[in-house]
């Protein structure tokens, strides 16, 4: 480890860094703009200048750029030398000559890297008296606001957008002092990672439009560490909330990235960043609702749908408790339906209330079996679930039948970095340090092999060395063929067409030759064979190299793997429930169904859902009004992720705890509290009910889960528990600069009210308490003196880019290792009539996820219902792109717009999963349907003939 001297102090540091990196890791403040910990150095902004001395005799030294200077043993540097300070001050003075006088009306103000660096450089007085350069802004879509005047031309935006995230529609245009960062013309930014520009841009050129609608400064946000609930990757987020001040309750204002070294690093996808707004949606349930039996003259409610009115929570709970009592006394059947989008604690509370034998997962058989299969595969000791840095490090990647760009976007971003590994290797051979970003990217050499098989997405095509769109069946056969070649056992190799065989040979060779191969698959195909195939390849690779092979299996929802842990394989699906309800009809016993945060219409076919919702009493706990809510007799308002505490298990089998950012509005509380309250009011006394009623803290439930399920034993030590204190104090959720404490509620009552108490977390809903608990995982307000922007994250890391200082509050599931049995690809499927098309799910970043689709900004960019068919099928049916077509299933039919794609395999019809308007189709995927064309709307309007 080299020894260096900075300003007379001796330091021992890691080799291979640049000086800027080393200074920041050592806690020395050195201003910078163009350097980014995830993107390396380009030496463009000249802001991190320091003096390097030849030896101790040298008094003068020379000026070098910190970010471009490799550390050398015995090096002598000075950050605080006058000449270096003057130089940095001069650079920033130049950068500021054109900067507009905008800070008061700029969303970045108060968390602006440019403000911080200007302060740090000591440039306080503007001497420039000339004119300022100005630019026109562009419309960049509903997420990002553009204010080009504020640009300092550090090139971070295009480096992130184009080079890191693979976007192509944002570029540096123009030249010299007039360079412009924007699109060729107005329009929404195409990349699904555009939201990161808000954090990457050191000034206010790109700001969060959704945040601006209910803007407050960073210091006025109340924050807590949370987890993104919009997919199963489990990215850590820092949502911020604040009361509006007009007497209404707090609203969620925005979501920013919260660094977690092993999961999301510095970046989030746009679904995660802008999907938060569903919490503030008009459709939010804030009061207890109960059916009304009023005589109405007319209603818009459909057949079977119920009309609701507010009910006092106490009465509703009493009604709920009576149901439970009746069930306990054997006069009523009480069924509980859980949900993969609710926390483990909520699901466990429901299981406790109704009893394990009456508790169902809220998924259809196919989906639940897939999750159990993922769980089973991940237990195999020959493979492991890679973290994001491990994915970025892979030197060969095979993606099997999973549209990761849409279902696990953060993982796709990591795969994009993996594509550069050969280039990085080449750089290392040439002794070019990897942080020399521009030099490394100039190196020739083929990109690392990325094979996309059975994936329709165009998102990763630009980095794919092979892209093979094919059906799920072919994907599985292809996987089986690779696995056979890898294990050297050719007997089970399935019959593949010649072209595919060659490709399989090729793929097997690439994977076998790779040092760190990675297989990615998931539940996206909703096909077990795909998962089996991925597992077979990974295990074969693991056996070959005698070290575990990386296999990432993407699950569909935030707690999918968590809910699978609560059930034995083969039990708990909705079909079983429907069946048992049907067989129980003879007993004549009334049935009550408690549905936990779940829209059943998205989960199972119409018949099953009808069977379940025909129950005598339907009790729903949910956050948003949905189709299921229309059928419920009693609806309790459930807390959203940002309003509650609990645990989720991500696709990797990592359990993480999230904390409540703010108290929910109205009567909103966590679902488990409603259940616990109802159990408390219940007349019948049973040990399970008493236990449920006695739980006071979310952590009590976590401990109970850890106790009951051995694989989740680590849940008990996930993070600081409710009784944790630092110097006898809780951690404050509000910053020390939180403003308006004595005025915000003053309109209603001038005397201040005490803050809400938080019974669940060692955190307070106020400014009181420990402000900067950097050594705990409880800090979500990334701030440090002099570093107001999110760039201050390095003050919370062990070293720049490294893990955070404290234990990160995550724990892997402790599953018993169990090798997968050998597997052979299924041969041939049932023949399909020529009129039928195979329905295959497609996924959309905006729309496939139930909750984020209800956020205002995201809802505005969701596509109309559509379906994609191959050119061949389209011409056979005389369907043109844009035609209105009807997907006909035996039980339902859906009206969509036709799209035609060359990538869509023949005989298949791609339908977007869960897209608003097609939610109920999700349960039928994959399946078969016929397609018929309706009148061509555009041509009828223009007077053409309808066919």
């Amino acid at each position: 480890m080299p020894n260096i001297t900075i300003d007379g102090e001796q330091y021992e540091i890691e080799d291979g860094q640049n000086l800027l990196n080393a200074c920041l890791s050592l806690g020395i403040n050195l201003p910078y703009f163009c350097w980014h910990p995830a993107m390396g150095s380009v030496g463009a902004c000249r802001q991190c200048a320091v003096i390097e001395y030849k030896d101790f005799e040298d008094q003068r030294g020379k000026l070098v750029m910190g970010c471009m200077t490799p550390i050398k043993d015995g090096g002598i540097y000075s950050v605080s030398a006058d000449s270096a300070r003057e130089f940095r001050g001069g650079v920033i003075e130049d950068l500021m000559t054109n900067h507009p006088h905008d800070c008061p009306v700029c969303e970045e103000g108060g968390e602006c890297h440019l403000q911080d660096m200007t302060e740090m450089s000591g440039h306080t007085l503007r001497r420039y008296r000339g004119t300022k350069r100005t630019h026109r802004n562009q419309y960049l879509g509903p997420f990002i606001n553009h204010e080009m005047n504020r640009c300092i031309a550090c090139y971070r935006c295009t480096r992130f957008y184009r080079e890191y995230a693979g976007g192509s529609d944002l570029a540096a245009l123009g030249r010299n002092n007039q360079v412009y960062f924007g699109r060729e013309q107005d329009g929404m930014l195409e990349s699904g990672f555009s939201g990161n520009l808000v954090e990457v841009c050191p000034t206010g050129v790109f700001t969060d439009k959704t945040f601006s609608e209910h803007f407050v400064r960073k210091w006025d946000l109340q924050t807590a560490p949370s987890i993104c609930e919009h997919c199963a990757v489990g990215c850590n987020t820092a949502p911020g909330a604040r009361e509006p001040g007009d007497g209404e309750d707090a609203i969620l204002r925005r979501v920013t990235n919260l660094f977690n070294h092993d999961i999301n690093g510095y970046f989030l996808c746009d679904r995660g960043r802008f999907g938060y707004d569903y919490v503030n949606s008009e459709a939010r349930i804030k009061n207890v609702l109960a059916t009304r039996t009023l005589e109405l003259i007319e209603t818009t409610a459909g057949e079977n749908e119920k009309i609701h009115g507010d009910m006092a929570p106490r009465d509703a709970l009493q009604q709920f408790a009576d149901t439970i009592t009746a069930a306990r006394r054997g006069r009523r059947r009480l069924i509980g339906i859980g949900s993969p989008r609710s926390s483990l604690e909520n699901n466990f509370a429901l299981r406790q209330l109704v009893g394990a034998e009456h508790y169902y997962a809220g998924l259809n058989a196919r989906d639940l079996q897939l999750l159990h299969l993922v769980d089973r595969i991940q237990r195999d000791p020959r493979l492991y679930s890679p973290t994001t840095p491990q994915i970025e490090n892979a030197d060969a990647v095979l993606v099997l039948g999973e549209e990761i760009e849409q279902t696990a976007p953060r993982i796709a971003l990591a795969v994009r970095q993996a594509a550069r590994n050969r280039q990085k290797q080449h750089a290392q051979q040439l002794k070019i340090p990897l942080w020399q970003d521009a030099s490394v990217r100039q190196l020739d050499g083929s990109p690392s092999p990325i094979l996309l098989v059975g994936v329709d997405t165009a998102g990763l095509c630009d980095i794919a060395s092979e892209h093979l769109p094919c059906t799920a069946e072919q994907t599985a056969m292809f996987a089986a063929a690779i696995a056979c070649r890898l294990s050297g056992d050719d007997s089970g190799s399935p019959d593949l067409p010649e072209g595919l065989l060659e490709l399989a040979d090729n793929a097997a060779q690439i994977l076998a030759g790779a040092e760190r191969p990675l297989i990615i698959s998931g539940c996206g195909n909703r096909d077990k064979a795909t998962l089996h195939g991925a597992a077979a390849i990974a295990t074969a690779l693991g056996e070959r190299t005698e070290s575990p092979c990386a296999l990432y299996l993407a699950c569909p929802e935030v707690n999918s793997l968590g809910i699978a842990q609560l059930f034995e394989p083969g039990t708990g699906d909705l079909e079983q429930l429907a069946q048992s309800l049907e067989s129980g009809e003879d007993t004549g016993m009334p049935v009550s169904v408690v549905i936990l945060e779940n829209d059943l219409y998205r989960r199972a076919d119409a018949e099953t859902v009808e069977q379940i919702l025909a129950a005598d009493e339907v009790i729903l706990l949910d956050s948003l009004l949905n189709q299921t809510a229309r059928r419920a007799d009693l609806i309790f308002p459930a807390a959203a992720t940002a309003e509650s505490q609990g645990s989720y298990i991500n696709s990797n089998g990592t359990a993480q705890r999230f904390y409540a950012v703010y108290e929910g509005t109205g009567f909103i509380q966590e679902s488990w509290r409603w259940l616990s309250d109802a159990a408390g009011l219940c007349g019948a006394k049973a040990p399970s009910l008493t236990a449920l009623a006695s739980w006071r803290h979310s952590t009590d439930l976590s401990a109970a889960i850890a106790c009951e399920f051995s694989q989740m034993a680590s849940l008990a030590d996930l993070g600081p528990d409710e009784d944790y204190r630092i110097d006898g104090l809780k951690v404050a959720r509000q910053t020390h600069r939180y403003s308006g404490r004595t005025a915000i509620h003053a309109k209603a009552h001038v005397a201040e009210q005490p803050p809400h108490a938080d019974p669940d977390a060692p955190m307070a809903f106020s400014m009181e308490g420990i402000q900067n608990a950097g050594e705990t995982p409880l800090v979500a307000n990334i701030w440090s003196p002099g570093w107001n922007s999110n760039q201050s994250i390095h003050k919370f890391q062990q070293e720049v880019g490294g893990p955070r200082r404290h234990a990160d509050g995550t724990a892997r599931l402790l599953r018993e290792p169990q090798a997968m049995p050998s597997w052979r690809a299924p041969t041939g499927s049932a023949p399909r009539s020529p009129a039928e098309l195979e329905l295959v799910p497609l996924y959309c970043l905006y729309g496939s996820d139930e909750l984020s689709a209800r956020a205002k900004a995201i809802a505005s960019v969701i596509d109309e219902p559509y379906a994609v068919l191959s050119e061949h099928d389209a011409s056979e049916r005389a369907i043109a792109a844009g035609d209105s077509v009807e997907i006909e299933l035996p039980e339902a039919h859906f009206l969509v717009r036709a799209r035609i794609s060359t990538d869509q395999p023949r005989g298949t019809l791609g339908v977007p999963y869960g897209l608003p308007g097609l939610e109920e189709l999700a349960a039928y995927l994959p399946g078969r349907a016929t397609l018929s064309r309706l009148a061509r709307i555009s041509s009828t309007e223009s007077g053409g003939t309808a066919q």
Binding site: P104, V105, C106, R136, V216, D246, A743, K747, V750
Partner: protein, 172 residues
């Protein structure tokens, strides 16, 4: 000992002939300079528009945290406070909000006499604070200096601004 007492008595006696320093407030008002730091007002720019752009700097500078506001953006592109509230029952009249205000919207006035039987009446809203003039700074208009475009002031039309760049030109 005796000398000291005599001296004290002499001093007290002498004060019978000096001018009285006590002001008979409230019958008699003391002189307060125009820049005396009393109750705040919200001023308007020379065009008569609200000067406050809801930047929140006054709120964060306020030691007793007695200012609260919410930014909203109008159709014309200007930022304005949707509400601006100050709880004068907490205000210590320190003037830090005036210091922090980047648009000269907040100005302190010599009025400090705010007595109420009901403390609730000490809560002032934007409507109570807005005056119709520019206060001490007659000519200053923030948006004429700022780079942000608003209705009636396009890019390049603020003070010391060059006309907007046409990216598609040669830019020589």
């Amino acid at each position: 000992m005796l000398a000291s007492q005599l001296r004290s008595m002499w001093l007290v006696f002498r004060h019978l002939f000096t001018r009285n320093a006590t002001v008979q407030y409230p019958d008699e008002k003391p002189y307060l300079a125009p820049r005396y730091r009393g109750r705040i007002v919200l001023t308007r720019d020379p065009d008569g528009d609200e000067r406050c752009v809801a930047c929140n700097l006054c709120a964060v500078a306020c030691p007793p945290d007695c200012i609260s506001l919410q930014k909203t953006e109008d159709e014309d592109g200007r930022w304005r406070p949707a509400y601006f509230r100050i709880n004068f029952s907490r205000c210590i009249m320190c003037g830090l909000c005036e210091d922090a205000c980047p648009t000269y919207a907040i100005q302190l006035t010599p009025d400090f006499e705010m007595c109420e039987y009901d403390r609730q009446n000490m809560v002032y809203e934007k409507e109570d604070l807005l005056i119709s003039g520019p206060g001490k700074y007659h000519d200053y208009s923030f948006y004429r200096v700022a780079g942000k475009a608003i209705d009636g002031k396009d890019k390049g039309q603020a003070q010391k601004e060059a006309p907007p760049i046409d990216v598609k030109s040669l830019n020589l």
